[in-house]
């Protein structure tokens, strides 16, 4: 009997082939056909097909035991063995579907979006293929070390693609910022790995750790620190507070890159990491609490920053940060609740559910924004307006995305967001802090609905604000709107996965999930007053946006009417000063430390070395006077020396 899972090792290899072939031959062999773009699509599609097959097999229980593990010995050090391998459970399967499917759509879309880039397309398609390879490798990894390696490669791809227009100084510095800020997280991840390495006695394989986690418990301070550092890696990669500030800057890259890497996949790697480590994480409730709090803060703070930003991509970037905060809130809350009650709860499931739904609707929103940018050649929403007449399909699919993220039933965003908020409220019974987090979550839901519809109204509704821009706008080619339509269908419908056993399939076995029929789920959801609270929050947000930006009965200028309001407005635009703080840390603290170290190096280290040299030269200058050049003085020295030796031999040598 042959299983699809046995072919899983091919999944990352196939995009890697595309990277090598396109990277080396793109401009020669594929000159006529989009500089390798079609080849990249083909390879991504093959990887996607395999991923879907494998995921289907795992999710439907087609593979006996449910978890496919394959590993080979990579490196043996006395006492430790490192393996390279494949670990596929339902969580991996979910990520496989999301990553491979969205990757394929984005590469197809790129053919239209990157059409005017000429020979640079070779670099683009090669790098995006490498990214797909690394991201699929990351989710398939069978141990933490292998995951860390792919984790670094996706970071590299992110850096390369943010800086795709590397002649633009803002893009180059944004790439550097993204790389350096996520690096702080990577270092924490590495520290976490060191602690895990010690704690789990030198074996970082998932299967080993998850099977033996009970054997290693007790005296959990070090383990808490370890899981916290692992989460630190997620903070950097998933742009959580306080390392969130690189993600808005990362919007300097092409919109396709923002959609794929900075919305749908790479930033989810942090969430995936926490979810992957869940069997260990749930044993350390303090870390779970920190995760929930950071998630809640991030969700609220990023949402406020999205309220008044005029840049269409920046708004979506803040929205991404905010929604990632929701996922961490869900994961942290679920784990905390599980530790204290040991009962099944929806925390983990809703986090993962939101991850999937968010990947679809956020990719849709970004790609739609890309279609708008492609049409009007500006990212400033103040220059748009009235575009729905020209971009009919785009405006429609974007509306679906907006409704979905705002959380209006029955679109996908509603189901997962509601589950998250329900779990957070439930956990309030254990720790009142979670009531605060719940309120933050509701506020975030309100703001999310507001800024998404503000974006939609400013872009598509009303009268054109800039006629030059408006006249040049045109609907995107088919190669762009077909992927949009597919994503719109998923953004609409991916929430219904809840009714097809998503919950039981995705829960870790330690949760002992029990199946519920779809009527039961509907009953639970719609008999809960909290559900209506979150729907009301969303509707209020949409209504406010409608009043302000469509009907114009509230003038948006009212928010900058007084100096105090203007100050808050400016504070939001300045991202609460985080950008300035990063720059301050970079320029003053890091540069200051660097200067001090430089001084130490130049003065002390070099001083010691140069001091030796100077002393040697001085002494040499004195001693060399002995070399007179007169043969007879040398002879005299020889005689004197021999005489002294002879005398000493007579005195002490016992010759006599």
């Amino acid at each position: 009997m042959m299983y699809w899972s046995e072919l899983a090792w091919l999944i990352p290899i196939i995009p890697l082939i595309s990277f090598v072939v396109v990277g080396f031959l793109g401009n020669k062999a594929f000159k006529r056909i989009e500089n390798g773009g079609y080849f990249a699509i083909l390879m991504a599609a093959v990887a996607c097909f395999l991923s879907l097959m494998v995921a289907f097999e795992i999710l439907t229980g087609g593979y006996p035991g449910g978890t496919f593990i394959q590993s080979m010995n990579w490196m043996t050090v006395p006492g430790f063995t490192f393996n390279m391998g494949i670990y596929i459970d339902t969580l991996t399967a979910l990520m496989l579907i999301v990553v491979s499917f969205i990757s394929t759509l984005v590469v197809i879309y790129s053919v239209g979006y990157m059409h005017e880039e000429g020979e640079k397309k070779r670099r683009y398609y090669a790098e995006i293929s490498l990214f797909i390879c690394a991201m699929l490798g990351l989710v398939l990894s069978s141990n933490f070390l292998q995951m860390f390696i792919f984790w670094e490669i996706v970071g590299l791809c992110s850096y390369l693609l943010i800086g795709f227009w590397n002649t633009k100084p803002s893009a180059a510095s944004a790439a550097k910022k993204a790389f350096l800020v996520t690096r702080i997280g990577d270092i924490m991840f590495m520290l976490g790995l060191f602690i895990f390495f010690v704690w789990f006695q030198g074996n970082l394989d998932f299967s080993y750790i998850f099977n033996n986690v009970d054997a290693f418990l007790g005296g959990n301070d070090l383990l808490t620190l370890g899981t916290f550092f692992i989460f630190g890696g997620a903070i950097g990669k998933s742009a959580q507070f306080p390392l969130h500030d690189w993600l808005p800057d990362a919007m300097e890259g092409p919109t396709t890159v923002s959609a794929l890497i900075h919305a749908a996949t790479m930033v989810k790697a942090g969430v995936y990491l926490v979810a992957r480590t869940y069997p260990v994480m749930v044993e350390t409730p303090n870390t779970m609490l920190i995760i929930a709090i950071i998630g809640g803060i991030t969700a609220l703070m990023a949402a406020t920053m999205a309220l008044n930003n005029p840049n269409i991509k920046r708004v979506l970037a803040y929205s991404t940060i905010s929604q990632l905060g929701y996922m961490f809130l869900a994961l942290g809350t679920g784990g905390y609740l599980f530790f204290h009650t040991q009962e099944t709860n929806a925390g983990f499931m809703s986090g993962m559910f939101h991850l999937m739904n968010h990947a679809f609707f956020k990719a849709l929103l970004f790609l739609s924004a890309g279609a708008v940018i492609h049409a009007v050649h500006t990212e400033d929403m103040r220059l748009m307006g009235g575009l729905s007449k020209k971009l009919k399909i785009t405006s429609l699919v974007m509306l679906i995305g907006c409704i979905s993220i705002a959380g209006i039933p029955p679109l996908s965003g509603f189901w997962s967001k509601d589950e998250i908020l329900a779990v957070v409220f439930e956990t309030g019974a254990e720790n009142p802090l979670f009531y605060v987090l719940y309120i933050m979550g509701i506020l975030t839901a309100f703001m999310t609905a507001f800024y998404m519809f503000r974006l939609w109204y400013m872009t598509f509704a009303g009268e054109p604000r800039d006629h030059h821009v408006y006249d040049h706008a045109h609907e995107s080619p088919k190669v762009m709107w077909v992927p949009l339509a597919i994503l719109a269908a998923l953004a609409f419908g991916s929430g219904f996965a809840l009714f097809f056993g998503f919950s039981e399939a995705i829960q870790p076995t330690m949760f002992h999930p029990h199946a519920e029929t779809w009527t039961q789920i509907l009953e639970i959801v719609f008999t809960d007053v909290l559900t209506y609270l979150s729907i009301i929050a969303a509707v209020l947000g949409i209504f406010l946006a409608y009043l302000m930006y469509r009907k114009r009965s509230i003038n948006p200028d009212v928010f900058v009417a007084t100096p105090a309001r203007r100050k808050i407005y400016g504070l939001l635009l300045a991202r609460y000063g985080f950008t300035a703080a990063y720059d301050w840390i970079g320029l003053k603290v890091v540069y200051g430390v660097a200067k001090a170290v430089d001084w130490f190096d130049r003065k002390v280290i070099d001083g010691i070395v140069n001091g030796f040299a100077i002393v040697t030269i001085k002494v040499g200058n004195i001693v060399r006077r002995g070399q007179t050049g007169f043969v007879q003085s040398y002879a005299a020295l020889v005689v004197a020396g021999v005489s002294i030796i002879v005398i000493l031999l007579f005195l002490f040598g016992g010759v006599i």
């Binding site: 060399r624 006077r625 070399q627 007179t628 050049g629 007169f630 043969v631 007879q632 002879a635 005299a636 005689v639």
Partner: protein, 100 residues
């Protein structure tokens, strides 16, 4: 038979005369001759100890030493000749280019 002390005394006197000559004389020729004196002092010791102990090895060594001394004088005189050609002097106190 003459007591060995006389031979050793003669050899010591010759050696010291040679050493003092090497250290003090300016002419390269005289210095070469003084080196010969020191070598011959050593030869006298070889022969004297050889005769005294009845072992003929010392005699053989003296002959070898004389042969080497001849070779050394040939080389030394060649250097002195070249020195004279190059610098018009054989005074050792004027030849000190190889120094600090």
């Amino acid at each position: 038979m003459i007591a060995i002390e006389y031979f050793i005394g003669l050899s010591a006197i010759l050696f010291i005369i040679g050493a003092v000559g090497v250290l003090t004389r300016k002419s390269a020729i005289v210095v070469l001759m003084c080196i010969e004196l020191m070598l011959n002092a050593a030869n006298i010791n070889f022969v004297a100890f050889s005769a005294y102990s009845g072992n003929m090895n010392g005699m053989v060594f003296a002959l070898v030493s004389i042969a080497i001394a001849a070779a050394e004088v040939a080389v030394g005189l060649a250097i002195v000749l070249n020195l004279y050609k190059a610098r018009d002097t054989i005074g050792l106190d004027e030849v000190n280019l190889l120094r600090w």
